[in-house]
């Protein structure tokens, strides 16, 4: 059974492309032969029931699966045409280009300023204190957090509320000027108001960065994304414009999932 890809995606300019990607944890196959183009200018949502492999697939896009000893990836993933799994790929460089935001907000137990400044500092993106200050300010502004924290940049990042912490993590990812931002259920630990703020933020960042978001909430996928991929049991079942997937799914399983028959 192959993925059903909607035919009307010609305008998609691919930032990342996966070609026949399979992921194994030991002997267990977690991702089965997925091929997808991640567009440069849109937000792509991965939806599907728990355990369907959408988070696993997301983590292959910046090689975060490397940290899991038994994980093995087959196939190729291209970033601007370069295979990121080739042996000479510099993983540190890759992760600077493909940033990630996690399910649970995970600010460093340091000051707000240090949280943002850490990435630019290790990558040598700023010459001197003033430039670093500027990067911190822009990143926080883009993440919509500047006005809330500008007077307490020296406070601990962990003292912020959950929603603020998650925006801090997004600002931290933005600070190293990535090309792609991967978000792994960024709102699942947040209340509805904080969720709305994050979604608003994703809307604002759309176009500047290629964004991939994994979400459990179909409403969220419908609200923030332009492309949606539906995963089920390690396979990508259907991929197309978000509007098409939700109003006119071609696959029976997709239809069952979005109408709430399982998941």
């Amino acid at each position: 059974m192959v993925t059903v890809v909607h035919p009307n995606l010609e305008d998609t300019e691919a930032k990342m492309s996966a070609r026949d990607v399979s992921v194994f944890y030991g002997d267990k196959m977690a991702i089965d032969n997925v091929s997808i183009d991640i567009p440069t200018k849109y937000v792509t949502a991965f939806i599907g029931p728990s355990g369907c492999g959408k988070s696993t697939f997301l983590r292959t896009l910046n090689r975060m699966n490397d940290t899991i000893p038994l994980a093995r990836v087959e196939g190729e993933i291209l970033l601007d045409g370069d295979d990121i799994y080739r042996s000479k790929m510099d993983v540190v460089q890759l992760r600077a280009r493909v940033g990630m935001v996690f399910q649970k907000p995970n600010p460093f137990p340091k000051s707000i300023y240090e949280n943002i400044a850490y990435g630019p500092r290790i990558h040598g993106l700023a010459e001197g204190k003033q430039e670093l200050d500027a990067i911190v300010e822009t990143s926080l502004q883009r993440a919509g957090l500047w006005n809330e924290v500008k007077d307490r940049l020296e406070d601990s990042g962990t003292a912020l509320s959950g929603g603020q912490q998650q925006r801090l993590c997004i600002a931290r990812a933005i600070a190293v000027d990535p090309e792609v931002i991967l978000m792994d259920e960024p709102c699942s630990a947040l209340d509805p108001i904080a969720t709305a703020k994050i979604e608003e933020l994703i809307d604002e960042l759309n176009g500047r960065y290629a964004i991939v978001i994994v979400t459990h909430s179909m409403q969220q996928a419908a609200r923030v994304s332009q492309r949606t991929a539906f995963f089920h049991l390690g396979k990508m079942v259907e991929y197309g414009r978000t509007s098409d997937i939700f109003t006119n799914p071609l696959e029976e399983r997709t239809k069952d999932y979005i109408t709430g028959r399982y998941g």
């Binding site: 975060m64 000893p69 600077a96 460093f108 340091k110 990435g119 290790i122 990558h123």
Partner: protein
């Protein structure tokens, strides 16, 4: 028609509830009892030690006025600044001068009870201040240990009478003995000091810490963060856990067989002692370090990796600072154990009689617990109080060391 009692109010439920509360009360009481018991034991220990030890910080001293003007000892300050000044004073007859004035003041019987090396204390005072030779000075000199026990009411009757007589004339009294903290081991309990052993302990602990801490922390970091999980690392883990449980005397044998074989001339040296104790401390630091590193949430590692930190940066910028308080706690435990250790040091010759404080990491030394062990073995009754005093010094040293470590730990914890 609402006759039914709600389930909360049935007698069976009430009985169960009562039982649950009773169980909780019992548990709390046992906990309090356990704490009370340990507090009482601790208090008992501290009180007995202090009561015994207070005597150890004092000694019986005879008051002897010495008039140097007619003693004929040359007071050239430059000569007295030379290393051989004490020998020179001895050659010029200082011992007999002291004996002469003691006989005048205390009578022949009393002077005979002056400690054997008492004149050395006069000599040390002269070396410190040569102008003493121009006049007469009153010295408090150590009494013999027989006279000291006679003053406490022990020993032969005639000495007890003499002691009582001298005490009545205000010529024999117990004084606070600050010299105890400055002198080293001696055969006469009146003239022993703890400084030699204390310095030996300090030097040994420095070597232990300098070896065990970096090696232990790096081993823990490698095993947790880098090592692949396979049969070899399992084997290493089991070995380290076993090492932590090996009786300490085995480490002494190892030190004897290996370190003294490599450095045969360094018997009794703090360097070798420190190396041996480091072997013993390292597994404790590795185990506690691994637990502390394991307790750092993986999300912090993910966060750092995801913005492009290299594994080394993740470890040294994030994991290690967060794990440091836990690692320090393990280090305190390991170091405290090393400080109190006697057995392995006996094996490498740190039980020798060392009358001078060590002047470096390679000169012969002993350590506090070994000194305590040696003194407790002495026959002379005067050593009983000295032993307690040494235990107090050991406990205080431990307290200072742990206090420092706890201060450091809190400082690192506050940082985030």
């Amino acid at each position: 028609m609402n006759e039914r009692t709600p389930p909360m109010r049935t007698p069976a439920f009430e009985a169960r509830l009562k039982k649950r509360y009773a169980a909780e009360r019992r548990f709390r009481l046992t906990g309090i009892a356990a704490i009370m018991f340990s507090m009482i034991v601790l208090a008992f220990l501290l009180v007995t030690m202090t009561l015994n030890g207070v005597g150890g910080f004092q000694r019986a001293e005879l008051t002897v006025p010495v008039d140097f003007t007619e003693a004929g000892i040359s007071g050239d300050p430059t000569a007295l600044a030379q290393p051989g000044a004490m020998q020179s004073l001895e050659m010029q007859g200082l011992p007999s001068v002291v004996t002469f004035f003691a006989e005048q003041e205390l009578g022949e019987q009393g002077a005979a009870q002056l400690g054997t090396g008492a004149w050395r204390e006069v000599g040390r005072a002269i070396i410190d201040d040569p102008s003493l030779l121009n006049g007469s000075t009153t010295f408090d000199l150590p009494a013999s240990s027989d006279l000291a026990s006679a003053l406490r009411g022990e020993g032969p009757d005639d000495l007890q009478v003499l002691a009582a007589q001298l005490a009545q004339d205000r010529k024999l009294d117990t004084h606070l003995d600050f010299g105890f903290l400055a002198r080293s081991d001696a055969t006469d309990p009146q003239q022993v000091g703890i400084w030699g052993a204390l310095k030996g302990s300090i030097l040994t602990m420095i070597v232990t810490l300098a070896l065990a801490f970096p090696i232990g922390v790096l081993a823990a970091l490698y095993l947790e963060e880098y090592a692949p999980k396979n049969r070899w690392t399992d084997l290493i883990e089991v070995s380290i856990n076993n090492l932590a449980a090996v009786p300490s005397i085995i480490f002494g044998l190892l030190g004897l067989a290996v370190f003294l074989w490599i450095f045969p001339s360094m018997r009794s040296a703090p360097l070798i002692g420190g190396m041996t104790l480091a072997l013993m401390t390292m597994p404790v630091i590795v185990i506690s370090g691994r637990n502390a590193i394991k307790a750092v949430p993986p999300s912090i590692r993910d966060g750092a990796l995801a913005i492009g930190a290299s594994p080394v940066q993740v470890v040294f910028h994030h994991v290690l600072p967060l794990a440091l308080p836990g690692i320090l706690t393990g280090t305190i435990i390991g170091m405290a154990r090393a400080l109190g250790e006697t057995a392995p040091l006996l094996m490498i010759g740190m039980r020798a009689f060392v009358a001078a404080p060590p002047d470096g990491f390679t000169s012969p030394a002993t350590v506090l617990p070994v000194q305590i062990f040696l003194w407790s073995d002495e026959i002379d009754r005067g050593f009983v109080e000295r032993t307690s005093a040494a235990i107090i010094v050991l406990l205080l040293f431990l307290l200072v060391m742990n206090g420092l470590a706890i201060y450091l730990r809190n400082k690192f914890e506050k940082k985030w």
